[in-house]
Symmetry: C2
Subunit: 341 residues, 2 copies
C-alpha cells in the first residue's frame, strides 16, 4: 500500500499515472488512499549489508572487484517505487563521512539493478548529508519546512522525473446583499495600501483546502460575514507571479448569510457594503482589463444572466471529499443530489 | 523594480499582496513585471563591513559589547523586501566557517532593525552552507533543481511567511470528430496498464504553461492529432495525491484539426478513434463517479446542450499573455475580441 502510494508520489512527469483519478478509477473521487505519508514510517538503521558477486557488478562503475569474488558491501536502505526507481528515507542521524561511501555504493548497486530515479528524502535534522548527496550528483526536487527531497537519474536516457507543484491558488469573493451592495475591503498592506481603493475579499487557498471552503473562510476572516458558496464565475491563470511559479485565481460568488461586518484588524483597514455601481465606477476597475471583465461577469451574474461552475461534492466511505466544478444549469442530474459541502 | 518583484516573492501568506493581479491592477493581466528573477543579479562578495554603535545593538542578543563603543561587524549582504523582511542571495562560494558567524551577526543586526522574515537563497553549489543555516534556526521554504530557499522568522509574533506552491495541475482532453468518435488511448504504464481500458489523453500542465496550450500539446504528443482548444468543461480539485500537494484537473474540449493518428511509442500502447457510446459503455466509466460524470458532461457538450468556460486572452505590451476562463455564451462582449491564443 505504502509502495503503491509512493508510486504515485514518483509517477513520471509525462505519465498519466501521476494522476490517480485517471489511472485508478477506484480512487477517482477518493483521495483517502493518498492521505498516508508517501514514505514508509518503519524505523530503519539507514543502511544494510548485502553480498554481491563481482561478476554481477559490471554495471557498477564506482566499485572495482576481481571477477567471481564475493564482497560485503554496505548499502542504504531503500524501497522500490512503482516506476523502476528507488526511495531512500534517512530517518536516523548519520555522519556524512559514513553516508557518502554508502550512497556511492548504493548508486552503483542501483545502476547494476538498472534502476531509474533515486529519491532521497532528508529530514531537516539531517541537513549535514545534503552536501555529500549533491557531490554525488543529486539535484533538489522539492522542499517542505521539515525536509528536502533530492533526486538522481541513473539511466543515460533523459530524466523524466515529475516536476514539483507548479501552481499557487487564490480566490476572490463576490458577495452581494439583497440591496445590490457588494462586500468590499481596503487593505493595510500591498499595492493598494493608502489608495482608498475598495476591492473584493481575496486570499490564498491552502494546501489540502477546497476552493469553495477557502472562499467562505477568507470572507469570514476579513469581514466576519457568514456566506454560502454559490459558483466559480471565472478563473485566471498567470505565470511568474511568485518566484517561478504560476497562479490560478478563482472568482467566486457567495451568498451572504449575515450582514454585520466585523473587520479583521491585522490585514484589513476598512470593510463595507458598497453599491455595485459605485464599486464598478472606481477608476482602477474601469481601467484594468481583468477588473472590468470580472466586474461585467459579476454584474451579469447579479442579473441572473450568467452561469458559472457549481461544486459537486462526493464523499468517500472514509469521509474524504473531492469537488467537481461544472455548469449544473446545463447538466442538472450528474449523480447523487448531495450538492456542495 | 527588482525589489518590487522580490516584494511579491515574499508577500505574506495571509496578505492579498501576494496576488499581484489583485493588488496591482496595472499588472493584473500582465505577468511581465514578474518575469524577472526574484533576486538582484548584481555580483556581490556576499558580505560587507558596517559600523554599529553598541548602544544601538541592544536588540542584538548574539553580540555583547560595552555601551557607547563602536565595533566593526561583518554582515551578509541583504536587500529589503516590501514586507519588512530581508533577502540574502549567496552568489559567491563561501566557507561554512566564515558563513556561520556572518549569519549569526546579520540576524542580530536584522533583529535590531526589527526586520521580520529573512529569506536565504542558496544555489545548489553552496549546499555546504545549509547545515549552518539550519543550526541558526532557518527552515526550508521551497527548492527548485538548482537552489534551496530557507526562511527565518525573527519576531516573537506568529510566522506569516507565504506558503510554497500548493497545487499541481493536469488536463484531460475530450476530442470528438464529425462522426461522433472520441480520441482515446491505452497507456503503457500506470494503473490501466494491460487492462484494455481506453481513456482520454491526459497530462501535466508545466510551470509557466497555459492550460489551453497544455491540452493541445498533450493530445499532439500522445496521438499526433492537431487540435484547437474549445472550452474547459469542468475541473476537479483533489488533495494528497502527490506528496502532500493538491491537484487541479481540468477537463478540456478540443476540436480536431487532423485525423490520422501517429501514436507516441514511449507512453502510449495504442490510440484510436472510438464511438462515444463505446467509450461510455466501458465498465470503468460506468462504475466510477468522476468518469461517468465527466462522460455525461462531454455527451451533453457534443449535443450542444452544455456551456463550459472559454479562454479569453490578453496580451501585454511586453508580449506576456494571461488567460481568463469564463462562460462566454452568457457574456459575449467582455473586452477586445482577441479570443484565445
Amino acid at each position: 500500500m505504502t509502495l503503491n502510494v509512493v508510486g504515485h508520489g514518483v509517477a513520471y512527469r509525462e505519465k498519466v499515472s501521476e494522476f490517480p483519478w485517471i489511472d485508478n478509477p477506484a480512487k477517482t473521487f477518493l483521495a483517502s488512499s493518498f492521505a498516508v505519508p508517501p514514505f514508509p514510517k518503519r524505523p530503519t538503521l539507514g543502511y544494510r549489508n548485502i553480498s554481491i558477486s563481482a561478476s554481477s557488478m559490471s554495471g557498477a562503475k564506482q566499485l572495482a572487484m576481481p571477477e567471481n569474488t564475493i564482497e560485503q558491501v554496505e548499502l542504504l536502505t531503500s524501497v522500490n517505487d512503482a516506476h523502476g526507481g528507488v526511495i531512500v528515507n534517512i530517518e536516523q542521524p548519520m555522519d556524512s563521512g559514513v553516508f557518502a561511501p554508502l550512497l556511492k555504493a548504493s548508486i552503483s548497486e542501483w545502476r547494476n539493478q538498472e534502476k531509474k530515479g533515486v529519491w532521497l528524502k532528508l529530514p531537516i535534522e539531517h541537513a549535514n548529508l545534503i552536501e555529500s548527496a549533491v557531490k554525488e550528483g543529486f539535484r533538489y526536487h522539492h522542499a517542505e519546512p521539515n525536509y528536502l527531497m533530492l533526486v538522481y537519474w541513473i539511466p543515460e536516457t533523459a530524466d523524466t522525473l515529475p516536476a514539483n507543484a507548479s501552481h499557487r491558488v487564490g480566490i476572490g469573493a463576490f458577495v452581494m446583499n439583497s440591496t445590490r451592495e457588494v462586500l468590499v475591503v481596503q487593505e493595510k498592506n500591498g499595492r493598494f495600501k493608502g489608495t482608498g481603493v475598495w476591492k473584493f475579499p481575496t486570499g490564498v487557498v491552502d494546501e489540502g483546502e477546497d476552493i469553495c471552503a477557502a472562499a467562505i473562510r477568507e470572507v469570514k476572516e476579513e469581514t466576519g460575514i457568514e456566506t454560502e458558496f454559490v459558483e466559480v464565475l471565472a478563473f485566471r491563470q498567470s505565470h511568474k507571479s511568485y518566484f517561478s511559479k504560476s497562479d490560478l485565481f478563482f472568482v467566486c460568488m457567495l451568498q451572504p448569510r449575515s450582514f454585520d461586518i466585523q473587520k479583521q484588524n491585522l490585514e484589513i483597514e476598512a470593510a463595507q457594503w458598497m453599491s455595485v455601481e459605485d464599486y464598478i465606477a472606481q477608476p482602477f476597475v474601469q481601467k484594468q482589463e481583468l477588473f472590468s471583465s470580472v466586474a461585467k461577469i459579476c454584474l451579469a451574474k447579479s442579473n441572473k444572466d450568467y452561469v458559472g461552475f457549481s461544486p459537486y461534492c462526493s464523499t468517500t466511505s472514509s469521509g474524504k471529499r473531492s469537488f467537481l466544478y461544472f455548469n449544473n444549469q446545463d447538466l442538472k442530474h450528474i449523480g447523487a443530489s448531495d450538492k456542495q459541502q
